[in-house]
């Protein structure tokens, strides 16, 4: 059962201890852009988690059997971004077909998932940390879950803020960033809990 324990720890570490948004600084643009309402934020989180998990899956194979095997490591960034862009295209087509309402709600942020640095960052960490196939999947999924938690949390806070008295200059981006700063402090409490 040691394998399962290791994977569980990896998952928790990725979601909380090394949270992609609040500790690693990845995924900030959608974090600020799609966090006005909890339900949109949650859908964005779901879509991103799906793309991340699929990306981790494909990237592992591309890296191991194409890039490393053929000594083409200098084409890594090119290969990875092509994988991500294609996956996002597929997800976009699927959502457009399955839920036009959601498609409209997410708007331009859907194709912008491609430029979510959290996905590319996660993909690049797979060869860096030398994860095997299962570890990559857990890592990608964990990254998505962590991102979703962060974005939903801040959306919840922002929804409450609508009824608050925020000075005009701080409205929108500044107050969100300040809130995120406080949240990041809170998440630091998880630090060192698990060292993977």
């Amino acid at each position: 059962m040691i394998e399962f324990e290791h994977l569980l720890l990896l998952f928790i570490a990725t979601v909380l201890v090394n949270n992609f948004v609040l500790i690693r600084f990845l995924g900030i643009c959608p974090f600020l852009g799609v966090s006005r309402h909890v339900d949109t934020a949650f859908s964005m989180g779901l879509a991103t988690t799906f793309v991340m998990t699929m990306t981790a899956f494909i990237v592992y194979f591309v890296n191991t059997y194409i890039l490393v095997a053929l000594n083409l490591e200098f084409l890594r960034y090119m290969a990875f971004i092509i994988v991500i862009a294609s996956l996002v295209q597929l997800v976009e087509m699927f959502i457009r077909y399955a839920s036009p309402v959601l498609y409209k709600a997410l708007g331009i942020y859907l194709p912008l998932i491609t430029t979510n640095c959290a996905i590319m960052g996660m993909a690049l960490m797979i060869p860096l940390e030398g994860y095997n196939f299962i570890e990559s999947l857990v890592f990608g999924f964990g990254a998505g879950v962590g991102f979703t938690i962060a974005i939903v949390l801040i959306a919840g806070l922002r929804e409450k803020l609508e009824f608050g008295d925020v000075p005009e200059s701080l409205q929108g981006v500044p107050i969100t960033l300040i809130l995120a700063g406080i949240m990041a402090l809170a998440f630091m409490g998880f630090a060192g809990m698990i060292t993977v």
Binding site: F74, L75, M78, G192
Partner: protein, 189 residues
């Protein structure tokens, strides 16, 4: 698929292939040009670390035993002057990589060099400071204990205020390196 859709896909593949081909060619050149420099930096960093942790060595030789790479130092009289190896372990923010110099004959740690880390600047990053590394100069190999004051016993290591995890990780790395080195080179071999 409609005619225009098929054309669209063809255009997509053609354009991307052309751009991709040009890009890849360009990058192949860039890689050939820069790779030697990158390798040289890595080699130089490693050599510096080895010389730091094996101060009596004039030269060193690389040897692999049981999948573990060792750097065996030799002084001017071609006597063995210690064995160096790198150990990596997860610290507070990321992996910490340490080069440890060991004297298997005297069962001592000679010195250490922090190769890579991602610890917090001003806190965990202080493991690279001389004052912390001095803990491990000519230290008898043992089970170490981290303490918050000047060490009184040889198995004590003075920690870093506010950076317990980083210091603890380095302590464990050094202990591991010591035991691996003794396992392969101990007993006056």
């Amino acid at each position: 698929m409609a005619e225009s859709d098929r054309d669209s896909v063809k255009r997509l593949i053609l354009t991307l292939t052309v751009i991709g081909a040009f890009g890849s060619l360009f990058l192949a050149f860039v890689f050939t040009w820069t790779n030697p420099h990158i390798l040289e930096h890595e080699a130089r960093a490693r050599e510096e670390a080895i010389m730091t942790v094996l101060p009596d060595a004039a030269t060193y030789e690389e040897e692999v035993r049981n999948d573990q790479t060792f750097y065996i130092g030799y002084d001017e009289n071609e006597n063995r002057a210690g064995v160096a190896l790198t150990v990596i372990q997860g610290g507070y923010q990321g992996m910490i990589e340490v080069m440890v110099g060991v004297d298997p004959n005297r069962e001592e740690i000679i010195y250490i060099s922090i190769l890579d880390h991602e610890e917090t600047p001003g806190l965990g990053a202080r493991i690279t400071e001389e004052s912390f590394k001095e803990n491990f100069r000519n230290k008898p190999i043992d089970d170490y204990e981290l303490v918050n004051r000047t060490p009184e016993e040889p198995y004590e290591v003075e920690g870093i205020a506010g950076a317990t995890i980083s210091a603890e990780t380095v302590k464990e790395i050094v202990m591991e390196a010591g035991s691996i080195a003794l396992e392969h080179f101990g007993g006056g071999s």
